[in-house]
């Protein structure tokens, strides 16, 4: 067989080095070519990660057993000998950029698996890579100055079981630098400055939302095949909104990143919510941010908690009232006694607070005309069990009111308590809060409740200062809500609203707060719907197709109304005509629909539908092995066959 010259560029020789010419025959297999090549470079090093990339055809020559002939390589082919793993800049859900090595030669699905293994993220099938939003070039140079986390030195491990060391996977515990990366991954980042939120791209309409999904990479082809170069930036995001088997014990990174993605989706108005929901999201963000900052201290073990609470309740007893010895002798529960102003709104009365001597005992407030009358019959006793407690606070105006809605057979009694100062307010507020749940001042959470309220008040005090991102306890409430609400409310108006929502979640631990956030996010009506601009067969106008984890939704573009919903459970089959790029779906009852995609590749739509069906096949029982083959079967299309 005749020998001919094959031109191969070896990247390791430097950008300016001329390509090597090696003499080959057509029946030489790829492995042989590589061997010849390596010999010719005269470089002694580990070549095991290198492979041949065929530039014109945009494909890898990975089967070392195949001959050049079988691969279709002829003399005109320009091959590049290059490493399969290259550094990539990954934009994480939390907004940080992480530089790490990823596989450029395997299908993106597997590349993501590799990335997730390094990041210690379980269930990589739920994530994928997408191209970043095209930014204006001017901004680019600014970008380079951003803090970059680097994990390129971390070797890719093959095993899926991660040994823990110092509470983190062993490969993170190597150096302070990697430890910092793990911290970034597993602890949610402080709230961004409000300006930063306002500056970022926000989808303004449902049409804008369809653009996001045009950026997903194809899971069945490699990064190189999709034109991704070394050191390019890609986003790593949760793509399929079905989160399987979430377990806080193993999913520190996954939970945090999911929370970050959800948080940004809400801050950037990617998903709509009501004002009440936004306030709750804001309160949860504040709480999570605060808890994350103090997380190191919280890492006490479970056993300590009992002791701690016991000590705390003891402490409450001792501190709760001035004359603690007297109290112990009397064996009474702690109580609060103070002058408060009380106001009971009735129809046709002007607002007027009157001062009374109030006593908080057990779960009730009794009030007396004066301190001297405190041993007599109270004017009224209010049992707060089951009542609604809301703050009505303005620190700047020195207004500290507690609004109580106490249920009674005749309806709700509305009562306002006005406190003199922050200290008094936080004590009484905490007591009211506990009492509404049927707990007394003895409860161990009382002290922390008081503290929570105080820190939140201090936040309002500092909010007039220059807007900064969350550092310790000061925070601008504007950074907790989306720009729409930043515009609608001043921080001064926003803080009481968030404070109100905060009352109900202040006791949550970090993990439960994150889970709560995710839960509310998932309960939003528009949650988990990915939008695509499509044109249905037989229709002349563009419409929007929403793909969720259990259904397809046809949405009228003009009005934004849902026209029709089809559920996967009724789906018999779906096909893609790759020539005319049309997706055809058949449902039970002989319902057939077909559509073409306007701005996205129909492979993305196909992959979304197949992906969700793949997600639903994941068995309930634990199994570490991912059925990669099935995924490709469901999402691959013609390339997979």
């Amino acid at each position: 067989m005749a020998a001919w010259d094959l031109t191969v560029t070896v990247e390791d020789l430097g950008p300016d080095a001329p390509p090597l010419q090696i003499s080959v025959t057509s029946d030489l297999h790829i492995g042989g070519v590589i061997l010849k090549l390596v010999e010719q470079t005269n470089l002694k090093r580990d070549w095991s990660d290198h492979a041949l990339w065929w530039e014109q055809k945009q494909q890898w020559l990975l089967r070392t057993g195949w001959t050049l002939d079988k691969c279709g390589v002829h003399a005109d082919a320009r091959l590049i000998f290059t490493p399969q793993h290259k550094p990539l800049r990954l934009g994480l859900p939390n907004g940080a950029t992480l530089k790490m090595r990823a596989c450029f030669s395997s299908p993106v699905f597997r590349t993501v698996m590799g990335i997730c293994r390094v990041l210690n993220l379980r269930h990589p099938e739920e994530l994928s890579l997408l191209r970043p939003v095209e930014e204006k070039k001017k901004k680019k140079d600014k970008d380079s100055s951003e803090e970059l986390y680097d994990l390129t030195d971390v070797p890719l491990t093959a095993g899926s079981v991660q040994a823990l060391y110092n509470g983190m996977p062993a490969h993170f515990a190597d150096s302070p630098k990697t430890e910092a990366v793990y911290k970034m991954l597993s602890v949610s980042l402080p709230s961004p400055a409000p300006e930063a939120i306002a500056k970022l791209y926000r989808p303004a309409s449902i049409v804008d939302k369809t653009h996001i999904h045009t950026r997903w990479l194809d899971s069945s082809r490699s990064l190189m095949q999709q034109g991704i170069q070394e050191n390019d930036k890609l986003g790593l995001r949760f793509k399929y909104y079905t989160f399987h088997d979430m377990d806080p014990k193993y999913d520190a990174v996954r939970l945090t990143q999911l929370y970050e993605q959800a948080r940004w989706a809400i801050l950037l108005e990617d998903i709509d919510c009501t004002e009440e929901e936004m306030m709750l999201f804001g309160a949860l963000q504040y709480h999570i941010g605060k808890q994350s900052l103090s997380q190191d201290m919280v890492s006490s073990c479970q056993g300590m908690d009992d002791l701690e609470s016991a000590l705390k309740s003891l402490e409450v007893k001792m501190v709760g009232d001035g004359n603690s010895t007297d109290m112990l002798d009397n064996m009474t529960a702690p109580e609060l006694n103070d002058h408060l102003k009380i106001f009971r709104p009735k129809r046709l009365t002007l607002k007027g607070y009157k001062q009374y001597w109030c006593k908080f005992q057990e779960t009730s407030i009794s009030y007396y005309k004066s301190k001297e009358d405190r041993y007599g019959e109270p004017i009224q006793q209010l049992n707060l069990k089951g009542c609604e407690v809301a703050p009505d606070v303005n620190v700047a105006g020195q207004k500290f009111c507690i609004k109580l809605l106490i249920p009674a057979p005749e309806g709700m009694n509305e009562i306002y308590l006005r406190c003199e100062n922050e200290k008094q307010y936080s004590q009484w507020m905490a007591a009211c809060k506990l009492a509404s749940k049927g707990l007394t001042l003895l409860d161990s959470s009382y002290q922390s409740e008081v503290q929570n309220i105080q820190t939140f008040l201090s936040m309002q005090r500092s909010s007039s200062a220059a807007p900064t991102s969350q550092t310790d306890e000061s925070i601008n409430t504007h950074s907790l809500v989306s720009p729409r609400y930043q515009k609608k409310y001043k921080p001064k108006q926003l803080t009481p609203r968030i404070l109100e929502a905060y009352q109900n979640i202040a006791q949550l631990s970090l993990t439960s707060a994150i889970l709560k956030f995710l839960q509310i996010w998932q309960a939003l009506p528009d949650f988990g719907i990915s939008y695509f601009m499509v044109r249905f067969k037989g229709s002349r106008k563009d419409e929007v197709l929403g793909i969720a984890n259990n259904r397809l939704i046809r949405i009228d573009l003009g009005v934004g109304d849902v026209v029709k919903t089809w559920r996967y459970s009724n789906m018999r089959q779906w096909n893609v005509n790759w020539d005319i790029r049309q997706v055809a779906i058949e449902f039970d009852g002989n319902i057939n629909i077909a559509f073409g995609c306007v701005n996205a590749d129909c492979k993305v739509v196909h992959e979304y539908i197949g992906g969700y069906i793949f997600m639903s096949t994941r068995a309930r029982q634990q199994s570490d092995t991912l059925n990669e083959e099935l995924f490709h079967k469901l999402t691959g299309g013609h390339e997979a066959l």
Partner: protein, 631 residues
């Protein structure tokens, strides 16, 4: 029922003379509070300041309980029915039995090792506990006490300060702690048998005493009744135990004289017994209500309910007793006649807690009745979860998948309910149309002139504090546009109030979709768990009955034939899903077949709800075989 033994009455009388005007409940509460603390420290195995025990104020609740039970009895008498005293007595006896089983010393290895300070403190209750032991220890050798008896004495003094005179004296004479004399054993056996009677007797007395303090209009009515049987029935457990303990304290004095030695092992045993005794005391603290349950045929039953019991438990015991067949649809329905509204209690709810919201002079009623709406959501989820406008059928397998999807995910997906409803203006008899939407975070409406984008929605109310009721005949009461009304209010509100929100739907279907949507938003997965639990019970009853008639089983298997194949759905491989998700699937398919018929019938007239249903009991296949499982 009037078999007070002389002996019993004596005790009661003694009690009273000692008590004078003291508030029994308060005293008892204080004492138990302390015991609670002791138990806790015993369990934790570390010393704790006994002084920390808070005063437990029970009097409030206690009074309510009285009021309540008396009210029910009154009502019964007013109606002229005979109170089902036999049933009540049976209840009481079963509780008694329950108590005595608890008191049997369990042989669980004690982790208490009697060495610490804490154990010493446990001594005094130990003494008391002996009176409750069922004679297992009278043969034990006397033991020498190595413990600081002063400590014990001090503690007991503290504990019994508020107790009667005799008890206080006894504390000074503690010299040892020990076992039970034969006399004591006998006395316990005796008292356990008859404590109920004594309790009822003495509780009546104590009621007299309390009269001036508590608001007792109802009570007086109760007492004026000529029937002594009625008085007999009104019993309140804490009071009963009160007698019991003061009695035993007196006896302790005699008991403790006789023992001089002490051994480690015996001490351990004792510690265990202390624990058991304390548990028992706790048990005694549990409140019980005597309530009256109305049946569909205008008759009624009187039952005793423990404050810890859920609606499901009460339903189970009612079903056991009434032999009316096992069906999912049996419900406890709260009827607030003054407001013309009603609500089916959810199975997980606490019954007593709910009933305590009623006012003393309330005309509310509790019905035990079959209501097809209760679990219609799960029998035909497609009609509720998919937001469709028309009823339709669905293959059982798909129903399962749908339920699984809706209730077993990482979050609850609230059905997308939205549409125009009528809202009653506050204080007026006019109704205004508004476009309402249901979200997990509450009910919202679209303000005038806005689109229904999430950001513009106005919160109508959040669901944490309100329950959803069905309004009855509001067309005439409030000039409602239709009769399909729902009401949202805080459970404690019992009278007309601006805080009650009335909504009116155009048709019955919409009404039930909304009601079920709100239930899902409020309770989420709990509802489904309730249903599955109810299914398990029903299934057990069916399994039993199918021993005689196999028709049910075969019916179920034939109707669960696969109807449609969806290639890619998770359920597509029916064989796999059958085996993997075990019990749930099976119960599902059985239910759907058994109830599909019932539902079909129900869905036609479905929901000409309310009174039309009252006479409906017995339309479902009846199985009179009682439930054989015990949980």
């Amino acid at each position: 029922m009037e078999q007070f033994s002389d002996d019993e009455l004596d005790h009661a009388a003694e009690e009273d003379s000692d008590k004078e005007d003291q508030d029994l409940d308060k005293m008892f509460g204080a004492w138990l509070g302390e015991l609670d603390k002791l138990t806790k420290s015993l369990d934790d195995g570390r010393p704790e300041k006994v002084k920390k025990a808070p005063l437990r104020q029970e009097s409030n609740m206690a009074n309510m309980a009285y009021r309540f039970s008396v009210y029910n009895i009154n009502e019964a008498l007013n109606q002229g029915d005979a109170v089902d005293l036999d049933a009540l007595m049976a209840d009481l006896c079963s509780i008694e039995q329950e108590l005595s089983t608890i008191s049997k010393p369990s042989s669980a290895s004690s982790h208490l090792g009697l060495t610490g300070d804490a154990k010493v403190r446990q001594k005094p209750p130990a003494g008391r506990s002996h009176s409750t032991k069922v004679g297992s220890s009278n043969s034990r050798p006397p033991l020498a006490s190595n413990f600081s008896m002063d400590d014990i004495t001090a503690q007991l003094e503290k504990a019994s300060q508020s107790m009667d005179e005799a008890a206080r004296q006894s504390s000074t004479s503690f010299r040892s702690v020990g076992t039970v004399t034969e006399h004591e054993v006998r006395s316990f056996v005796h008292s356990s048998r008859s404590s109920i009677n004594s309790a009822s007797a003495s509780s009546m007395d104590s009621l007299d005493i309390e009269k001036p303090k508590s608001d007792t209009d109802g009570l007086q009515d109760g007492q004026d009744q000529p029937s002594s049987e009625v008085n007999n029935v009104i019993s309140y457990y804490p009071t009963c135990w009160m007698d019991f303990f003061s009695l035993s304290l007196k006896q302790l004095r005699d008991l403790f004289e006789g023992y001089m030695q002490h051994e480690e092992q015996a001490a351990k045993q004792k510690a265990e017994k202390i624990r058991v005794a304390l548990e028992k005391i706790k048990e005694a603290q549990v409140k019980k209500l005597v309530i009256r349950v109305h049946l569909s045929d205008e008759s009624s039953k009187t039952v005793m309910v423990d404050e810890r019991q859920t609606v499901r438990q009460v339903l189970d015991s009612l079903l056991d007793k009434s032999h009316c067949g096992y069906s999912l649809d049996w419900s406890l329905v709260e009827i607030i006649s003054e407001l013309q509204m009603e609500r089916i209690f959810e199975d997980h709810e606490n019954l007593v807690e709910n009933l305590l919201n009623w006012t003393r002079d309330s005309t509310n009623r509790l019905m035990f009745i079959e209501r097809i709406e209760k679990y219609a959501l799960f029998k035909n989820p497609q009609n509720y979860l998919l937001g469709r406008k028309e009823t339709c059928e669905m293959a059982d397998r798909n129903k399962e998948a749908l339920l699984e999807e809706c209730f077993c995910g990482s979050s609850i997906s609230v059905p997308e309910m939205e549409g125009v409803l009528w809202l009653k203006d506050d204080g007026k008899k006019s109704w205004k149309k508004r476009y309402f939407l249901l979200r997990a975070s509450g009910i919202y409406y679209v303000p005038k002139g806005k689109a229904k984008a999430s950001r513009d929605l106005v919160c109508f109310l959040q669901l944490d504090h309100v329950n959803v009721y069905l309004g009855q005949d509001y067309r005439s009461k409030y000039k409602a546009p239709t009769d399909y009304c729902m009401v949202l209010k805080h459970p404690q509100i019992q009278k007309k109030s601006q805080y009650i929100k009335y909504l009116c739907c155009d048709d019955v279907r919409t009404l039930h979709q909304w009601v079920n949507g709100i239930r899902i938003a409020k309770y989420g997965k709990l509802l489904y768990l309730n249903y599955q639990e109810a299914m398990r019970r029903t299934e057990a009853a069916h399994d039993w009955s199918s021993l005689s008639s196999s028709s049910i089983k075969s019916g179920s298997s034939s109707s669960s034939l696969p109807e449609s194949q969806s290639n890619h759905s998770s359920q597509s491989d029916s064989g796999v899903s059958e085996t993997t998700s075990s019990g749930h699937v099976r119960s599902q398919s059985v239910v759907s077949s058994i109830f599909s018929e019932a539902w079909k019938r129900g869905s036609q007239g479905n929901l000409s709800h309310n009174k039309d249903h009252l006479g409906d009991c017995g339309t479902l296949p009846m199985f009179t075989v009682p439930r054989y499982i015990t949980c």
